[in-house]
């Protein structure tokens, strides 16, 4: 069991800055995120896209923003629990008890939900019949490629993941790459390789095609694909791989009894607390009149929420507002030596 002053759900920029705002007030926090690394949407959706509206930073990438935030919070030594999702929460005398999908238990007076638009999960092919084949012959990510040797593999998608796996798996399996349009999106080198393999008959490319159906029964044998004019083709297939990026799902949060509207958690703008005492929501996931989905708004929300977190975590101490420029206490917490 891990006891802490605050649990932060979501390691995106706003969750990371919450660590900072709690940290300078002397509060310890633990961060939980479903992804395998910190950064949230900034890393998962647009690591290289430039951002132009972070105050005093004329231009930065999602990656550099994340790296700098991680550097900024290093002094506070918060633990990151990655690849992990909070499954259930319950309250006991003003203390929240959280349980993750890896059965880790946290107890804390404060939960800060900085979950963006939810946790990322792979997008699936739009065919219900495929569900029963999932993790047997239909995969949306690959953990063990040795299982894919000497098979007939149909890969759907037109981006980097689809192309990279098509090239890799074509070394030892029969690969058909299926995409809804003729253009593929990959590095020039990858596209060249693909063209070469196609010319040599080592990869089969079907465009513009999408999935239409699969065979009945327990074992995947073939798929049927169709183009925009409903022309169909049958392809013998043992394995289907789909690479359509990630989609955000709110997940278990919706069952925690929080007031929500349009997939957002309602908060007050004084301390960004939800209808449950000790649960805060900041960043893209919160909603209040005038809310803007900006990273800078999330930073502000985290700062205000951290004040209330302090009051809940240290009920016997008086909160004193301090500046980092002048507070010896804060500078000690930041490990600044003068």
């Amino acid at each position: 069991m891990i006891k802490t002053d605050a649990v932060i759900i979501g390691a995106g920029p706003v969750g990371l800055f919450a660590v900072h705002q709690l940290g300078i007030k002397g509060l310890k926090s633990e961060v939980i995120d479903n992804l395998d690394k910190a950064g949230g949407q900034c890393i998962e959706l647009y690591p290289d896209k430039p951002i132009y509206d972070i105050p005093a930073i004329p231009e930065c990438s999602g990656k550099s923003l994340t790296d700098n935030l991680l550097k900024q919070i290093r002094p506070f030594g918060s633990n990151f629990h990655l690849n992990e999702r909070v499954q259930e929460i319950k309250e006991d005398k003003g203390i929240w008890i959280l349980k993750t999908n890896k059965n880790k238990i946290f107890t804390t007076p404060n939960i800060i939900i900085a979950g963006g638009v939810g946790s990322f999960e792979p997008r699936k092919l739009p065919l219900k019949e495929l569900t029963k084949f999932e993790e047997k012959s239909v995969f949306y990510s690959i953990n063990d490629k040795t299982l894919l040797k000497n098979k007939k593999i149909s890969i759907f998608g037109g981006g980097d993941s689809a192309l990279d796996w098509a090239l890799e798996l074509s070394k030892f399996s029969k690969v058909t790459l299926i995409h809804r349009r003729d253009d593929f999106r990959g590095s020039p080198h990858t596209i060249n390789e693909l063209e070469k393999l196609k010319a040599d008959g080592k990869i089969f490319i079907k465009t513009p095609f999408q999935i239409k159906s699969v065979n009945d029964g327990k074992v995947l044998k073939f798929i049927e694909i169709k183009d925009d004019n409903e022309k169909t083709e049958k392809i013998e297939t043992d394995i289907i791989l789909g690479f359509f990026g990630l989609i955000m799902q709110l997940g278990p949060i919706v069952e925690w009894g929080l007031n929500m509207s349009k997939k957002k958690i309602q908060v007050n703008t004084e301390n960004f607390q939800t209808n449950k005492q000790g649960i805060f929501a900041v960043g893209d996931i919160c909603s209040y009149p005038g809310k803007l989905k900006l990273i800078l708004s999330g930073f502000h929300e985290a700062a205000l929420a951290s004040v209330e977190c302090f009051k809940r975590a240290r009920p016997n101490e008086k909160y004193r507002f301090q500046f980092t420029t002048s507070s010896k206490e804060i500078q000690d917490r930041l490990g600044i030596k003068k």
Binding site: V117, G157, G159, R180, D228, K263, K293
Partner: protein
């Protein structure tokens, strides 16, 4: 007299606002007057038109504002950029008329635009 003039002007302005029609998969249709400069996605979100999620808020990062543009309108719209096409690849059941509604900016030129929302967005 002034009141009547004001009312007349008001009606005139209302009539000048482009109309966008959103149709769902069951055929239910909603026609909304949307301000110039807003996107077709924003028109839907601000007027509670179901079928458009817009999880990322219009930053072309999620493909949950995917719509099918009616044939007669499709070629009249400015073409989708590459980045939009890449994102449409991720959408639920895209077809040749697929666009992201966050990238269609409302103007007088598209007054009367008809879009159909997909069965679902994810």
């Amino acid at each position: 007299m002034f009141c009547i003039l004001a009312l007349f002007l008001y009606i005139l302005i209302l009539h000048l606002m482009p109309k966008i029609t959103y149709i769902d998969q069951k055929g239910n249709s909603k026609t909304i007057e949307v301000d110039n400069g807003l996107t077709v996605m924003e028109g839907a979100i601000q007027n509670n038109v179901p079928g458009i999620d817009a999880d990322c808020g219009g930053s072309m990062a999620c493909a949950t504002c995917h719509v099918y543009v009616e044939d007669s309108w499709f070629n009249k719209l400015p073409k989708a950029e590459e980045a939009e096409q890449d994102m449409i690849d991720m959408a639920y059941k895209p077809n040749k008329n697929s666009r992201l509604s966050c990238q269609i900016i409302v103007s007088d030129e598209i007054n009367g635009l008809i879009v159909t929302t997909p069965e679902k967005q994810t």
